[in-house]
Symmetry: C2
Subunit: 323 residues, 2 copies
């Protein structure tokens, strides 16, 4: 089953959000216009808006109101990716050139700033001050997450707690907030909002851990960038962290490879093999599953409406996705 | 009279804010730590915190509360300068190397993001939701201003309205908000808050226009960067705009010079001379004075306390400052 099959019934509302994203980041400035449009066309799963829509089904669903929340959430996510690619010096994302690679770091900086500004601008239109507060907290956490990522880059000795806190800030919180804000904007009861928040947090953690696993085990074609990119860019993720702690030799090997000039694919494939052999991938799947189980448990507390099944399917999908 | 003489009586509270700035942007990440500290040491007039403190004198002045507002305002300003220098490709600010020049655009991007995040983080600690809303609006405007600056760069045909709107977003609004938030945080009456906001807006406009004039008429030593830097970086300001509209020859001359490879100081000094001769500097001083007079009028509405005189002195200083 594909992710889009799960929310097939939302397709017309997702199209509305897609249109709104397009209108919102349209700019008169020629490079901004091109860069933003390049970013939109590169696509993405639009998983955050989908979570907003599904969560809103637990209250009074009005797409015109809900999209005022869904769009800024996707914009914050997009802006963070543009800046992330500068930090990671990444040339490809989803098989397309990144803005920093198609243009340069300067254009990537201001395109990210622009999209971020549009997100805050749109969020201030929302009439519920609580929405505003939760969104701005999420933005802060995202920014801190970005800075933590820089801080932790090439730090091969970080413990699991640091990794988990970083992916919480970078990914899980924005998904948790998407689930909560959809419910809040639609006036769903507070206990529903909080269950959805916890569901989103746990799904988000599992989602990022799976992403970090796939970076090692998926093919270049599936990833839209070379396998092992994270490690190459100095981003130390759970599979590598675990395996390095298990296997001191691997640790030394990775350091040598990363620091040498000719860190080509052949070598990366060896490192990937060693990470798998040392159990880093299996361990990470285990941790991901633990988060998914917590997400499933949160869903049990929710009223039985069709959206609940979609939330369930998405969590299940994340546990089995290949790319 | 120097600017610091005007707020000499605030020096111990300004020292507290300086200390707080230092603590707030301290980072464990080695480059972030160095970059932030470089930025702090480069100094600045700290005019936004000063406005906050002075405005708070119209209510219940409590430095511990007030600094929660003053610090984020200075941080937002600092973050915007770091990103601005990337946009302008500027190597010097206040005689010191910019972060993008001492390191690179990437470090400047994330240092700016980091300081910005710290500002939002600190602002969310404030217990008055109105403060929060006003600050986040100001941040949006600053971001849009940054993007407008890029859009308008090298656009030699913009009209005065576009210039004025840009400096409003880039400078005047944050100063207006500083004045208002100081009063608001100290619980001063609403009419006082609004008068101070309008005072700040008008003073901010005059301040930026004067800055733009000085870029042409001050010496390199006074400016801490070469005269004519704005024009060199494609930032079209009021003196140049006015003179180019008066003198088509100058217009063509500037375009040739900016587009040629050897746009050295000798040529810039000629351009500056032509701008002065065409009346661009005189005209800009006139416009600046108009804003200052509006600022003085707003002050008349305020109760007679010593802070009012400081506000008056600052406005007067802006009208006569040399650098």
């Amino acid at each position: 089953m594909k992710l889009t099959d799960i929310y097939w019934h939302l397709r017309s509302d997702i199209a509305k959000i897609e249109k709104e994203l397009e209108v919102t980041i349209d700019a008169k400035h020629p490079i901004l216009k091109k860069a933003s449009s390049h970013l939109l066309k590169a696509g993405g799963k639009r998983i955050r808006p989908v979570f907003v829509l599904l969560a809103a089904k637990f209250g009074e669903y009005d797409i015109e109101k809900i999209k005022q929340v869904a769009v800024p959430l996707e914009l914050i996510h997009m802006a963070s990716l543009v800046h992330d690619d500068v930090i990671d010096d990444a040339d490809l994302r989803r098989g397309k050139k990144t803005i920093k690679s198609k243009w340069d770091n300067r254009v990537a900086m201001y395109t990210g700033d622009f999209i971020f500004a549009r997100a805050i601008e749109m969020a201030t239109n929302c009439d519920k001050p609580e929405v505003h507060q939760i969104l701005s907290d999420a933005m802060v956490e995202m920014c801190i997450g970005e800075v933590e990522q820089i801080r932790d880059q090439y730090n091969w000795n970080q413990n699991f707690r640091i990794y988990l806190r970083r992916i919480k800030r970078k990914t899980a919180l924005l998904i948790a907030v998407s689930c909560r804000l959809g419910a809040l904007a639609a006036g769903a009861p507070r206990n529903v909002q909080l269950s959805l928040y916890r569901y989103g947090y746990n799904v988000g953690m599992a989602f990022q851990i799976t992403d970090d696993i796939l970076d090692f085990i998926a093919t270049e074609k599936e990833l839209g960038k070379p396998a092992g990119s994270d490690l190459q860019q100095g981003n130390v993720t759970l599979p590598a962290l675990y395996s390095m702690k298990q296997n001191q030799e691997l640790s030394a090997y990775i350091l040598t490879m990363i620091n040498s000039e000719n860190s080509e694919k052949v070598v990366m494939s060896e490192i990937i093999e060693m990470i798998k052999e040392s159990g880093g991938v299996d361990y990470s799947f285990e941790i991901s599953d633990r988060y998914l189980n917590k997400a499933f448990k949160e869903l049990e507390k929710l009223p039985d409406i069709p959206a609940k099944d979609s939330f369930y399917q998405i969590a299940k999908y994340i546990g089995t996705r290949k790319y």
